[in-house]
């Protein structure tokens, strides 16, 4: 099988280049990451980030034939040759397929991804009804791989100001959480020209999410929550 892999070592290479490889597929090669790791035994200078190898950690998010995805859960036999592998678009490249996700996690942390509740803690735990717990489905499963944000044109244009689809999906996860008491503050924080409203509903995020989540729907729900708060707000005396 033929591969064309993005190579860049900032300590050695003046600029990035694509390097071609050819490797026969073995019976045990099921996912793309299996083949990349075998390629690495032939050329140990290829750099890729990986950890769990089963689509849970999100470490091995790369651009595969123009589309972001996780190498560990992408069946290799269905890919068009040559398989073109690049680092996640728009993220600064550290080396080869490894990108710097500092900006991504900075935006993620900016939405305060934790429960905010100043009420006295109960003896055991803060309980939720099954209905309230159900509201978190489709939100809590995000593994922060960055596939969505990296493929979002709005994030390309304003990566330092637009929270991005992954961060906004997480924001919605805490906005709808019945145990959280900072809904108003969270909505206020996002009601800005950039942080939420740079989303143009392009929906690349939902298209490429390897976990099948829908950040664009979460973003729409945040907007509707803002509208609802605006309508319910009592006029100033």
């Amino acid at each position: 099988m033929k591969f064309s892999i993005y190579r860049f070592n900032p300590e050695r290479d003046p600029k990035p280049y694509m390097q071609d490889y050819e490797i026969p597929l073995l019976a045990e090669d099921r996912m793309l990451l299996d083949v990349i790791l075998r390629l690495k035994t032939l050329d140990d200078s290829i750099s890729i980030r990986k950890s769990c190898r089963e689509g849970v950690c999100g470490s091995d998010a790369i651009n595969i034939n123009g589309r972001n995805g996780l190498a560990c859960i992408t069946p290799v036999r269905g890919l068009k040759e040559p398989v073109v592998l690049r680092p996640l678009p728009s993220f600064p490249v550290i080396r080869d397929l490894i990108v710097d996700m500092s900006q991504f996690f900075k935006q993620y942390h900016s939405i305060k991804p934790y429960l905010i509740n100043d009420e006295p803690p109960p003896e055991r735990e803060r309980l939720q009804s099954p209905e309230d717990r159900e509201k978190l489905d489709g939100l809590y499963e995000c593994i922060l791989c960055g596939c969505c944000t990296s493929q979002c044109p709005s994030s390309w244009w304003n990566p330092d100001k637009f929270v991005g689809p992954a961060g906004l999906l997480q924001a919605e996860r805490f906005i709808v959480d019945s145990r959280d008491r900072a809904t108003q503050e969270r909505l206020d924080d996002l009601n800005d020209v950039y942080r939420l409203f740079r989303c143009r509903t392009i929906m690349n995020c939902t298209e490429v999410c390897p976990k099948g989540l829908a950040p664009s729907r979460a973003i729409e729900k945040i907007r509707l929550a803002m509208v609802k708060v605006r309508l319910e707000r009592k006029p100033a005396p």
Binding site: W157, N191, D192, R198, V227, V229, R233
Partner: protein, 112 residues
């Protein structure tokens, strides 16, 4: 909640104006299909009826607001240098104000 013309308010203006404009266009096209005016004076009289006149006035206002929010969004995305962006938005504002005056002078000469 913030009340500046930035996030939610601009988004609402864009959505509400789009829905209104769509409704107005469907209304006008529907009228022309069902009861087309036979002559220019008939069309002018229909346009000058209070209901249509008011609806057309709101249409023009929503069109200008919609264009402002839409092109402002494009400027926020693509025009990164602040000076260029401010100049572009100023140019847009002046252009839209001129278009508004021109619309009033054309469609409602008695007001202009």
């Amino acid at each position: 909640m913030k009340t500046t013309m930035t996030g939610l308010r601009a988004w609402l203006v864009q959505r509400v104006s789009a829905v209104y404009m769509l409704g107005f266009v469907v209304f006008v096209l529907g009228h022309f299909l069902v009861d087309p005016p036979g002559s220019y004076p008939a069309w002018r009289d229909w346009m000058r009826s209070p209901a249509v006149d008011s609806a057309a006035s709101v249409f023009c206002a929503t069109l200008l607001a919609h264009v402002w929010v839409g092109i402002r969004d494009v400027a926020l995305d693509y025009l990164q240098p602040v000076v260029v962006r401010v100049f572009a938005l100023w140019f847009l504002g002046v252009g839209l104000a001129g278009a508004g005056v021109w619309l009033i002078c054309t469609l409602w000469p008695q007001r202009g």
